[in-house]
């Protein structure tokens, strides 16, 4: 029962306690019953689950994670390059 997808809030209807969220060009209404009043704002990224907004996605943490992944890739790339250079250096066929 955990399928939940990130969406962006594009509209808020305070009277009906409902927000309109956008998931890649598909918009849907979602209930705000599980969020504190005023907590959700237009432009927020939220998790949507069976018609309700369940929480707000922390943008800073998300960006932080993505940054860490890029660093890991860079580090691995560097290692690969170094290994290639070493292999090349140590290659018995290499001319002196």
């Amino acid at each position: 029962m955990c399928l939940s997808i990130p969406s962006k809030v594009v509209k808020i209807d305070k009277e009906c306690n409902v927000a309109t969220v956008d998931t890649m060009g598909v918009t849907r209404e979602a209930g705000l019953e599980l969020m504190e009043e005023g907590d959700v704002k237009i432009g927020d990224y939220v998790l949507l689950h069976i018609g309700f907004i369940m929480n707000k996605i922390d943008e800073t943490d998300a960006l932080e994670s993505l940054k860490v992944y890029n660093e890991i890739l860079e580090k691995l790339d560097e290692e690969d390059r170094r290994n290639l250079v070493e292999e090349d250096d140590n290659c018995p066929n290499r001319g002196a």
Binding site: M1, L3, T23, M24, G25, V26, R28
Partner: protein, 332 residues
């Protein structure tokens, strides 16, 4: 088999195949039927003959309506056997109380599509049944086409062939789900409902070495690939990141837990053509508006006969199975 017919048996996937095999094929046993092609090839390979019934709900959806669907559906089945659609029949079962204006709209739609295909309706039947006996209107069309390229068959695919799709997947299925009551979504998504006759004619005219064609209706591309793998006794290996899916379809799939390869299409077809003709085929398809993003998605091997393999871009693989069950949104 179940004691009662369930909705899943109409899904175009595993249960549907079981129903057809165990009840209908068993009774109507004959060589032509057992070939399980999109249309029957009859009369010494000269004619293609096909039938289809249409029960889509809602009747009018972005990109089309039941009338357009009824003509495209049958004409496309004929086109998939390399035939030019010529003569169609049209039978309707209408619920008492159905709005005449809506019926006219539907029939006008059918007329437009017939003209596009160069086909005519030569016979038909009309029934009106009491309220509640059918859901608004059901349409059946049966068609005969003249085969312009013989030998197109889902039973002859081999390692010499490559697998292409004519456009991005899942539009019709996604649109219907979005338009249906009970699931409120708003998007610009439109069904891909269209006739494929012109593309097929162009390919035939250009002398492309076509092995097989099939439009990916119920059960989507995954049903077609699985049928081909079983019928031709081959393995189809699909590169997951080449499968074209539009952002809006992806959005609906994310939201409802579907996979685009399992969603129905009504104007998208899968091709198995000889390797050497890949570029030629793509060039021809790209010249048509509704196949301008046609792309190669896979190859044929003998790794796992009768199965379809999905290869990820990070080095893993899994089987892509024929869809089962009613296509309910996955909640979990």
């Amino acid at each position: 088999m179940n004691k009662q017919i369930t909705l899943a048996m109409g899904n175009g996937g595993e249960e549907n195949n079981e129903l057809i095999t165990k009840i209908f094929y068993k009774a109507f046993k004959n060589e032509i039927l057992e070939k399980s092609e999109d249309a029957a090839v009859i009369h010494n390979g000269e004619l293609a003959f096909s039938t289809d019934s249409f029960t889509v709900n809602p009747l009018f959806f972005p990109g089309g309506d039941i009338g357009k669907l009824a003509i495209c559906g049958t004409c496309n089945d004929l086109a998939m056997m390399g035939a030019k659609p010529k003569y169609l029949t049209c039978s309707v079962i209408i619920e008492e109380g159905f709005a005449t204006r809506e019926l006219e709209k539907i029939v006008r739609s059918m007329k437009k599509e017939l003209e596009d295909n160069g086909a005519v309706v030569v016979s038909g039947d009309t029934k009106v049944v009491p309220r509640g006996s059918v859901d608004k209107i059901f349409i059946n069309t049966t068609g005969i086409g003249v085969i312009e390229k013989q030998g197109i068959s889902s039973n002859n695919i081999s390692k010499e062939d490559v697998i292409l799709v004519s456009r991005d997947l899942g539009r019709h299925g996604a649109t219907i789900f979005a338009a249906r009551e009970g699931i409120e979504l708003t998007s610009d998504l439109q069904s891909d409902c269209a006739s494929l006759t012109h593309q097929v004619q162009a390919l035939i005219k250009a002398g492309v070495n076509i092995t097989a064609l099939r439009d990916a209706t119920r059960g989507g591309v995954s049903a077609v690939l699985n049928e081909w793998a079983k019928q031709s006794k081959i393995c189809i290996e699909v590169n997951e990141d080449t499968i074209p899916v539009s952002e809006e379809v992806e959005g609906i799939c994310e939201m409802l837990g579907f996979e685009a390869v399992n969603l129905a299409n009504e104007g998208t077809f899968v091709l198995a053509i000889k390797k050497d003709d890949e570029q030629k085929t793509l060039d021809i398809l790209h010249s048509f508006q509704n196949s301008n993003n046609a792309v190669k998605i896979g190859n044929v091997s003998d790794a796992y006969l009768g199965k379809v393999l999905l290869l990820s871009s990070y080095g893993t693989k899994r089987f892509l199975d024929t869809p089962t069950g009613e296509l309910l949104p996955r909640i979990c």
